[in-house]
């Protein structure tokens, strides 16, 4: 029968080596350290460096010293009309695109939830757009929008409607960008809403149905409140992404025509590299960073999703 086996290597009477002890005691810091160091180096350091750059005029000639200009670059933000245009375009794009994506995604999820829940393959197919390289999406839509031989104008022609320049048209350029973005990112909202709907408990609905609540009432009183945390996350992530819009604009319009699609990311890029003014670009970047931090903090606080 089972007897204490003397042949077993008994645990040593005295705890192991100093190194083992030290490692075990500090494991929580050791495991976190690489990530912390890398992120400090790649985000905190750049932030300070950017502030340093923002108070200088930096010549494109690397041999020339940086010239201290104090708050000069920040003061330019107030008077720079191009910056104001970029700010306005970014705001318009973010609000319109995210609103459409949200309404469309939520609507589709509510309508299709019952039908698509088990059609995993189909669901994944519908998710393809948001996984694709934005550059590939951009050139795809560039071909579709092409005024001469593009598919969209072909459809317009068949429908007897006037042909358009789309991304090249002053009034339609922003609209074209938004359509491409909605195409790519509505599935994101749709998918998250489906996940939210799938996790809804069934009992409250049974109770509500017994209480005689209409579908509409059930939606407002149960579904929407239950979905709120998921909605918050989805919208937050979309807004953050929309604020950094670059690829679509770069390929589809290059910011034109007449600056109608010049968004902040693109403007910073142009200031830094085409106008060779990294100091001023850093000042605009700081402004964007500030807006991002304020927005995301406010959002997370409101939705209490820090953890």
């Amino acid at each position: 029968m089972l007897r204490p086996d003397k042949g077993m290597p008994a645990a040593s009477p005295r705890p192991g080596g100093v190194l083992e002890h030290w490692t075990e005691r500090h494991l929580r810091y050791l495991m976190l350290a690489p990530t912390m160091i890398v992120l400090l180096a790649l985000t905190i350091f750049p932030s300070f460096y950017m502030f340093y750059a923002a108070v200088h005029r930096i010549s494109p000639n690397p041999d020339l010293p940086w010239e201290f200009v104090g708050s000069g670059n920040f003061a330019r933000l107030l008077t720079d009309a191009q910056f104001h245009v970029a700010l306005r375009n970014t705001a318009v794009f973010t609000i319109v695109a995210v609103t459409f994506e949200f309404l469309l995604g939520l609507g589709l999820a509510l309508l299709l939830d019952r039908f698509i829940r088990r059609l995993t393959f189909l669901k994944t197919v519908l998710m393809i757009p948001m996984m694709l390289p934005p550059i590939a999406v951009a050139i795809t839509w560039k071909i579709i929008y092409e005024p001469q031989f593009g598919v969209l104008n072909e459809i317009m022609f068949r429908l007897g409607l006037p042909l358009q320049a789309w991304a090249g048209d002053v009034n339609l350029a922003m609209f074209s960008i938004i359509v491409a973005d909605v195409w790519q990112w509505t599935p994101f909202i749709f998918l998250l809403m489906l996940a939210g709907l799938a996790s809804l408990p069934i009992e409250p609905y049974e109770a509500a149905a017994l209480d005689g609540a209409s579908s509409w009432r059930q939606f407002w009183d149960l579904t929407l409140p239950f979905l709120k945390p998921v909605i918050a996350i989805a919208v937050l992530l979309r807004v953050m992404d929309a604020l950094r819009l670059f690829d679509l604009v770069f390929i589809l319009t290059g910011g034109g025509p007449a600056d109608r699609t010049k968004v902040l990311s693109l403007y910073i890029y142009q200031v830094a590299y085409r106008f060779a003014d990294p100091g001023y670009a850093a000042a605009i970047s700081l402004f964007v960073l500030f807006v991002t931090i304020v927005l995301s903090t406010w959002f997370m606080k409101r939705m209490r999703l820090a953890e």
């Binding site: 460096y49 750059a53 560039k142 998250l192 996940a195 809804l200 509500a208 990294p278």
Partner: protein
């Protein structure tokens, strides 16, 4: 939706009809652009410009694939993309797994856990354009511009927070008793992580790695700024380079663009179960 309602047969059928029609329309809208770029990549230039458009290529050709991948350095771009993506993924997932585990399991003084988690998340929220100027100046002063290492470093800044949060959420799903059992059974804390937690988190680990590969593969802006020549330029930059002010090489970019999409679609199917979690940074379990 989990609604309980009584509805007449007629309106129930109408709902079914609407739903399936919607799915059909959504499928067409989703797939058409992808189909269109694929189809165009197999057409001769003259057929790409045809009015009305050729819905199916009448004379299919691999000419543009030859142009892109043999005559022009798109193979090189793709290889660069792959190397950078793999390098970024190894670093991000390696470090991120450890950090994610630490944040999921250990307690820290003064609520550090929450603070650090939030800080790591906020670095992910940062628009890339914001950190690109200091990174550019930094790489410039170390003579690292136009290198793949610079790209890997820059991409890590965005993938590491992602990997950390993903892995944190996967580790939080595991019951802590398993690691405690391992510790009482004679393992160290590190051993419990290595022998118990890590094998159990393997599906999450794989999903996180694939997401990192996708994010790096798709990235455009950072690469646009850091790389200059085909030595280090990635696939998206190569594609964008063929859209010039004077001429757009439609066939070539369609071929390259389509090839850039193929691995992503395959990956999307591999990680389909983890999509929700990946896209919401682990916040929604899905």
């Amino acid at each position: 939706m989990a609604t309980i309602r009584t509805r007449s047969r007629g309106s129930e059928m109408l709902l079914h009809l609407t739903a399936y029609l919607t799915i059909l329309v959504a499928l067409i809208l989703t797939l058409f652009p992808v189909y269109w770029i694929a189809v165009n990549s197999f057409k001769y230039d003259i057929d790409i410009f045809a009015v009305p458009p050729e819905w199916l290529p009448r004379n299919p050709t691999l000419k543009h694939y030859h142009e892109a991948f043999v005559q022009r350095p798109f193979l090189r771009y793709a290889l660069n993309s792959l190397l950078v993506a793999v390098g970024t993924t190894i670093i991000s997932v390696g470090f991120g797994t450890m950090a994610g585990y630490a944040l999921a399991r250990f307690s820290y003084p003064w609520q550090w856990r929450k603070q650090i988690s939030f800080w790591i998340l906020s670095t992910r929220m940062m628009p890339p354009i914001v950190s690109i100027i200091p990174l550019y100046l930094f790489f410039n002063s170390f003579d690292m511009l136009n290198t793949k290492s610079a790209l890997i470093i820059a991409y890590t800044a965005f993938n590491l927070p992602f990997a950390t949060w993903m892995m944190k959420s996967y580790f939080q799903d595991l019951p802590v008793e398993l690691e405690e059992a391992a510790i009482v059974d004679g393992d160290t804390q590190w051993g419990a992580f290595l022998h118990v937690a890590l094998p159990l988190a393997r599906p999450g680990l794989a999903a996180t790695a694939i997401f990192c590969l996708i994010i790096s593969w798709n990235e455009f802006l950072l690469s646009l700024i850091i790389t200059l020549t085909e030595q280090s330029q990635t696939l998206p930059i190569g594609i964008a380079g063929r859209v010039t002010q004077y001429k757009t090489y439609w066939g070539e970019i369609s071929a390259a663009g389509f090839m850039a999409c193929v691995p992503i679609v395959i990956f999307a199917f591999i990680v389909q179960k983890h999509l929700v979690r990946g896209l919401s940074l682990g916040a929604v379990k899905g």
